[in-house]
Symmetry: C2
Subunit: 195 residues, 2 copies
């Protein structure tokens, strides 16, 4: 079930490098594309960066509207993720073409993709040079939600009983790595003569 | 065994969002820190972005030397990754303190961490505004290597027989997700009335 995520925890949604779906809208137009290249850049205010190539329809909509949303697809949506990453939205409405269900983001009204496992609504922070030179768009997260079956109390919980809800991490050519296991790191004791 | 990676494939090393170790050096000083926040930004020339907080010793060394390297730690190094992400290098040489073995990067001479599974040596592309406003450092990858037991022919290969070599994806508090499985996405057939 979708639950709001405290903005102080927004970076944790994308800290582990998932591939995201970027949704956007302006006027009568809307679009959704896959993006493997995004990262958090700041905890407070929560800010992220995402790469939007100059060839994408999404880029036009984001620049025109000043907003975008990151939707985190899960294992059950691998086909959807690969498909919206393979087809341009400049020719057809991908939501209609592929029967992708969406709901309105509470903060921005942007179309958020149903059955994803997390959603970050963002206000574009205009940085024309970074956009032009590196296709890098900075955004401030203004609202976040997650599916509490897999993200609760500010933490992801990838378990054997929720594998279909695990995030996708694109390796290339439609092959996605899925974080089905976790490991706990421990702080190493310094060598004796190093204090 | 370490093998050179064609620069045209460099982005694939980090496309799936692994946590990296950033190594740096200037004069007599060297350092290594963990960074969950990095991403590719361009295929050709291969460029990446990484967030280096203003509090880090690494940032000083990168600014002074104009270079840095991303080392991709694997499951067997979860303790190492968490440790160098938890301790500042401003007080002690972490390589010596924790007995971290390194070898010289062929392109930059930077200390690269042994037993990682991939290495990207980078030349800093100076962007003072992005560095100041978003702690975001852009770099051009000038050389890349990977362990051919887990990355070969331009592709990651996460299998049951190489689980200790799988990449780490930090969820928070030293818990890392590990991509032990993969799934193949397929392009969806459009709905009948959508052409």
């Amino acid at each position: 079930m979708r639950q709001p995520v405290n903005l102080a925890h927004a970076s944790r949604l994308v800290n582990h490098g998932p591939t995201v779906l970027v949704s956007s809208a302006h006027g009568e137009h809307r679009n959704v594309m896959a993006a493997a290249w995004s990262m958090p850049v700041e905890f407070t205010p929560p800010r992220i960066a995402v790469v939007l190539d100059k060839s994408t329809h999404t880029r036009e909509l984001v620049l025109a509207s000043g907003r975008f949303a990151l939707n985190l697809p899960c294992r059950a949506q691998a086909d959807l993720c690969f498909t919206v990453g393979s087809v341009s939205g400049s020719e057809a409405d991908k939501f209609a073409r592929y029967g992708i269900k969406s709901f309105d983001g509470p903060a921005t009204g942007l179309p958020l993709v149903e059955d994803c496992v997390a959603w970050l609504e963002c206000r574009l922070v205009s940085e024309p040079h970074a956009q032009d030179a590196y296709d890098t768009f900075f955004g401030e997260v203004v609202a976040a939600q997650a599916d509490d079956r897999v993200f609760a109390n500010g933490r992801w919980s990838f378990r054997d009983d929720n594998t279909e809800l695990h995030t996708l991490h694109h390796l290339g050519a439609g092959v996605f790595a899925v974080p089905t296991q976790t490991v706990q790191g421990r702080v190493i004791v310094p060598l004796p003569d190093q204090g």
